[in-house]
Amino acid sequence: MIRYFFICLAVFIFGCLAQQFIYGIQLDYGVGKILLLPLFFFCIASVQNYVSTLFFAFIMGLLWDADHCLTFQDSPISDVPPVDNLRFGYSIFLFGIMGFVMKLLQAVIAFRGLLISTVLVFLCLLTYLLLEGMLFYFVRGAVPSGSSILRFILESSGYTSLMAPLLLVALGVLWKLLKIDLDNNASSLITLLKKDTLE
């Protein structure tokens, strides 16, 4: 199991670097983005045990916030921030919650095949982005009217979750190559692969 944990960690780091590469490629502004890092987290959370999931949630939150969280600096114009920003580390809590949700969904992912798994990953991404967006606007004290934020969330979740089957299968193949015993919580991929890919 520990070997599989380190393999998943390596996959996660690969996802982090691939995400940075994809940020550079994405051209359009105003449409949904491919958010590989949360996808990797959700998929890994669906095959790991509770303790490992919390570990990944912690690392995920740190990396996510390091990537884009704003910090206020003293300004000559104003010595107080004009608006509040989310504090660095907020997403550790969010990913912790989402990791817990993934644990609850593990049984469904295990017995319902890749299509349902992809839909579940889509829903988790959607929920995470909604939570983050709501928290951001709550802290800033205003909510934009209209639907384009919702469209961004939907599109981003949609584009990103299209890659979920690939990642789930890859994680399953890695498990198969390692020929290790997973505990009950992490047995989802065995069934998944038997149903959809390997048989």
Partner: protein, 268 residues
Amino acid sequence: MKPLHIVISVIFLVLAVLVITRSERTVRSIQGVYLNAVSPFIKSGTGFKDKIIAFNREVETSKALEKRLAAESAEFGRLQATQARYIQIEAENARLRAALDFKERIPFNLVSAKVLERTHSAWWKTITIDKGEGSQIATEFPVISEKGLVGKVDRVWNDIATVLLITDESCLVSARVEGSPEFGITSGLLREYGEEALLKLDYLSKDISVEPGTRVVTSGKGGVFPDNIEIGTIVSIEKGPLYSHAIVKPSFSVVDTDLVFSINTAKK
């Protein structure tokens, strides 16, 4: 839930609280380590994108290129004429300044930088540029484009920096309305994602009388942004009982901006 899980959950919460209570300085150093590590990947992604764009350009038909060459030759001629006129005016300006004994204005020390990535979330308004401390860029340096003020350097590392855009609500710029005695502070206006960004110019006098379309430029007060950099143009004025505010359309557009310039404002 097993006892082990409860213990692990408590440890997780304690660690998360420790992280969230870190000082701004610690947070910046964490972000620095992370972005220094991933910057080669952002740059390689941008390089790959550039190759795709270059390839697309190459496959344009020769006829279209010929047409474009003809149009650009005409434009080049026009610009040459304009430049000749500009040189004349500059010389004349220098003579007049010398005659009036004006203090020589310190020229901008500009560092050009390529936009590596635009904000990748609907709620953050930043861009990442391919220059950092290695190119003498520091935090709080103003960033401009050919169209006007873009923002200020927010976080900077060896060869990469992030710029907080003026369209973010947390970016304040001391501004003045051109051709009037009005001064104010601009900040980003909360807008729908993907919609045209707008700014709010606050603290104008309650009986202000300026027309929409009037230019708003930096005032030079506050010490971050040099004066007379174009911010945008006034779209509308909303008068209040104590002071008025104006809605300003910024000159720069995050979609079209690929090359920016950081102004070195460090005191020597």
